[in-house]
Symmetry: C2
Subunit: 217 residues, 2 copies
Amino acid sequence: MEVQTLTRRDRERLARSRAILDAALDTFAEKGYEGATLDEVAERAEFGKGTLYNYFPGGKEEILFALFDEVYDGVVRLTDNYFSDQLLGENATREVFRAYISRMISHFIDRLPNFLLLIKEAHRMVFGDQTESADYLFTQRERVAEALARPLQSAMDRGEIKPLDAHTVAHLVMGNIHGYLMFACPRNGGKSASADPEQGADFITTILFDGLLTDAQ
Amino acid sequence: MEVQTLTRRDRERLARSRAILDAALDTFAEKGYEGATLDEVAERAEFGKGTLYNYFPGGKEEILFALFDEVYDGVVRLTDNYFSDQLLGENATREVFRAYISRMISHFIDRLPNFLLLIKEAHRMVFGDQTESADYLFTQRERVAEALARPLQSAMDRGEIKPLDAHTVAHLVMGNIHGYLMFACPRNGGKSASADPEQGADFITTILFDGLLTDAQ
DNA sequence: GCGCGATGTGACCAATGGGTCATATTCTGA
DNA sequence: TCAGAATATGACCCATTGGTCACATCGCGC
């Protein structure tokens, strides 16, 4: 619109790269990384198979890791943005995190292929035998955990939540979001658009923040 | 030792079947289902590849589902046994569940391949495009959730924990156990025997039962 | 329009691995 | 000891698929 920082060629190249990644994300999410074929990715992207290698010389694996980058970046960005907007300490801690959880659930419901990629492939590769990939995914998971650990630590410092290890708590919170999504939108039978972010966030927050024990305990 | 209900042939056949399943479990857990080859399974079991088909005519897939059966049976059995031994209502609810969580963590630490099979393959197939497999795994997950939902419902009926949906809470608890294990024994770098069941159970119980909010809230 | 570099393409290649089967070996009962 | 059943085996088959490349096409500058 305003300043053209990219030539037309660069823009088109970017758009084609985008189309390939989108096609690959859908395919990998549906069939799994091993079950997906480059032929199908190429077909969905409306390119010949050879073209994929012009954009991703590393082939199937390079495409997969490019997708991981984007998916994790999205989660880290959402987390960072959310908590930098919140004036921590001014709003009720419980509500701040409840709304965060709701946003995360919405984020993945709107991007189910992202979620499926994490469930199907990332979790498998973290425990895979290729140390390189395992390290990469471990690092990405840590990035997310760190982004969430900061506001948690802050709340702990203010004495609003129990002084546990913020990093571990962050992993637990992320795990609960994933767990809720796995539970709430199971069967890709198609009709599972029913998961309600608010309801899920309420449920998780009630347990994680208030505890299962009755108040009268 | 006492009554021979099985002939020698049947016992030996069972033992060979066992050897094949053990070899397959290790291989699948390490390489993943798709990444594992029947040649390697056969080699680890010290059989020729053809022999596998004498015991599992359905081939690779039949072996995988036989493993799923065993893994899920183990978890359901542990859960049922544990809660049938506990005189619910006589012991402190919090401690009963804390000890259960500790047992589950121990169970999987002692059987890491079982855990890896669930993480790597079950989670992938629940969302897979083969409805048959997805249904099967969904049902197995429900069995576990049901076994845990019963004592939870019982505690709710006694007013000891909040009256939420027991089934959903059961899924959440299972998810937290899995989440802790994923966090606590990452990198199969070999040195990860450090996860402490008691510590993990304390951590999970503190958050799930007492809540993150400080008591003075 | 012309020429050349950039880009697209799909037939092709080679490796892989699940599954089969003819043959060899072992076990059982008489 | 022997016949026949049960079992073990691994060479073989072939469908699949990631990756390659010679060639076709396109588009931009002149």
